[in-house]
């Protein structure tokens, strides 16, 4: 499951960057999201698309009040919600 969550997220980053004509930084777990080349609107689209494809939005259900800062945080946030 977790592999598929990760690959779904990574492919959404790629696709949204392409659609919004943004240059995506090389993706690694310690990449700070705000340094990835995507802006707030791009992240909003990524979250909406992930809700379509994974069927949930962890921001809406999480008890954890922390917003993800790195790509690794972001993926873990989704993986934890998928459990």
């Amino acid at each position: 499951m977790s592999d598929s969550v990760r690959s779904t997220i990574v492919s959404q980053f790629d696709q949204v960057a392409r659609e919004q004509k943004r240059k995506l930084a090389p993706l690694s777990d310690d990449l700070v999201l705000m340094d990835s080349g995507l802006d707030s609107l791009c992240f909003a689209i990524v979250v909406a698309r992930l809700e379509d494809s994974l069927g949930f939005d962890p921001f809406g259900v999480s008890e954890d009040a922390r917003f993800p800062v790195t790509l690794g945080d972001f993926i873990k946030f989704y993986e934890d919600a998928a459990k």
């Binding site: 700070v32 705000m34 707030s40 909003a44 689209i45 979250v47 909406a48 922390r66 800062v69």
Partner: protein, 468 residues
């Protein structure tokens, strides 16, 4: 307003013998207010603006701030252009607001034809030598309502209607350092600018080209104490990893619905700060502020008039009557801002549950994507241009990053049923999105498209829109 209602910003600034080290900071410059009150950025031409309707048209936010501080109290009217005003609207704006002087840092080519009007170049550098000011007048402030499509819409305010609202920094405390993620040429930012100028503090401006982390780094370096932005601004701050660098006493959210997640995150990040979420719009002014850390507004806040602000709900939407609302629309004959009883209809739909009112959206389905408004009909018109689309419904979907995003449901013409051909559906989605990207601003392009077998249609033949 703090201190005996000054008749102008300048009177307030110059009436403080002890300016000590009050400053306005921009990304690459700083202006000491004591130097500003002893100098000018208008090349000695301030008095040419006396009694005129003055368009403030600037690239640079700091230059705009300095111009406002000097011209309020001299001009009959200040027309404050937002940073993203489409240049093609300038002639229309000038006609609507009877502009007869332009103060700008733009090149003559960018300003375009201004007829026989007075044109004054303004810089962000203060030259020594104060201008002769003479008699003050009460200047009318004209602001643009926030980003809808089509022709600009403007409303009329006064210094006191704009400055009367922000709590939390009303004392004349020189130690207060205000800052805002907003540009000060928008309502949310303008309040902070005015509060800093009329109160005793300093002001740190955000930079248009600056990253959130760099902005917060500067805010930390100048020990910002009072900081405001939309929930989207704050989410971006939290995701930048730099939010913890500042230690504000007062954190304020406005301009969009503050949900529980963002309030909880800010509480965790700033455990000792006062955290307030407010409802404010250019038309209605600041209607209320909530400081109990919970989303929504306690019903009890509707029962009592607070600071002269009265709230009510009629036909589902929030109505506001207060000294802080705008007075009227400018240059839009027939458009009414206040009803017969003096209430402004905000168009925001509220629902009551568990003793609190919650915003559920806007009348007419207008979608607020990170503070930018989207009319669903505009997006539907673009989607419907695709030859295979029969009809579409564009609506808002809640989003943790921008508050809301645009999503579309589409009914295809009968000859094609994409549910039986997933690859064809993916291709169609791509084509429709490409059409949208070509014709619309990025925030208006649907984040998600779903093909549906049918959409509800009202008896009058229109696509049925779920309320708000």
């Amino acid at each position: 307003m703090p201190q005996n209602d000054p008749s102008s910003l300048w009177e307030s600034l110059s009436g403080r013998p002890n300016q000590s080290d009050r400053c306005i900071w921009a990304p690459n410059s700083e202006i000491r207010l004591r130097e500003l009150v002893a100098g000018s950025t208008l090349n000695g031409r301030l008095n040419e603006l006396r009694g005129r309707s003055v368009l403030i048209l600037m690239h640079d936010q700091l230059t705009a701030a300095l111009a406002l501080a000097q011209i309020d109290g001299i001009a009959r009217r200040l027309v404050l252009c937002p940073p993203d005003l489409d240049g093609q609207h300038i002639p229309l704006v000038m006609a609507m607001a009877a502009v007869n002087a332009v103060v700008t840092d733009l090149s003559p080519a960018e300003v375009g034809a201004i007829g026989g009007n007075c044109l004054i170049r303004c810089s962000s550098a203060v030259s020594p030598g104060a201008e002769v000011r003479g008699k003050q007048e009460s200047t009318e402030w004209i602001l643009f309502t926030s980003g809808t499509s089509g022709a600009p819409k403007m409303v009329s305010h006064s210094l006191s209607s704009l400055a009367g609202a922000i709590k939390g920094g009303s004392s004349l405390d020189a130690a207060i350092v205000w800052s805002t993620f907003y540009d000060i040429r928008r309502y949310g930012g303008l309040q902070i600018f005015l509060r800093a100028m009329l109160g005793g503090g300093s002001l740190l401006l955000s930079g248009t080209e600056e990253s959130t982390a760099d902005y917060l780094g500067r805010a930390a370096a100048h020990s910002v104490t009072h900081i405001t932005g939309t929930p989207s601004h704050w989410r971006r701050a939290l995701m930048s990893g730099a939010a913890h660098r500042i230690l504000p006493h007062y954190v304020r959210l406005s301009g969009e619905i503050a949900d529980q997640a963002i309030l909880d995150s800010l509480r965790e990040t700033y455990p000792v700060a006062r955290i307030a979420h407010a409802f404010a719009s250019t038309e209605a002014g600041v209607a209320f502020e909530v400081e109990d850390g919970l989303a929504g507004i306690p019903v009890s806040q509707f029962a009592q008039a607070n600071g002269g602000v009265e709230l009510k709900i009629e036909d589902g939407s929030l109505r506001v009557r207060s000294p802080r609302t705008a007075v009227r629309y400018v240059g839009s004959p027939g458009a009414t801002l206040v009803d017969a009883e003096g209430f402004v209809d905000t168009g925001d739909i509220l629902e009551q549950s568990n003793g609190r009112y919650h915003f559920i959206g806007r009348r007419g389905g207008i979608i607020n994507v990170g503070g930018l408004k989207v009319h669903p009909e505009e997006v539907e018109a673009v989607i419907n241009r695709h030859p295979r689309v029969q009809m579409s419904l564009v609506r808002s979907r809640k989003n943790p990053i921008t508050g809301a995003v645009v999503v579309a449901e589409i009914v295809l013409k009968p000859e094609l049923n994409p549910s039986s051909a997933a690859t064809e559906s993916a291709g169609l989605t791509r084509e429709i999105l490409e059409n949208c990207h070509r014709a619309l601003a990025a925030h208006k392009v649907p984040a998600s498209i779903r093909f549906v077998p049918s959409l509800d249609v009202t008896p009058s033949g229109k696509v049925a829109r779920p309320n708000a």
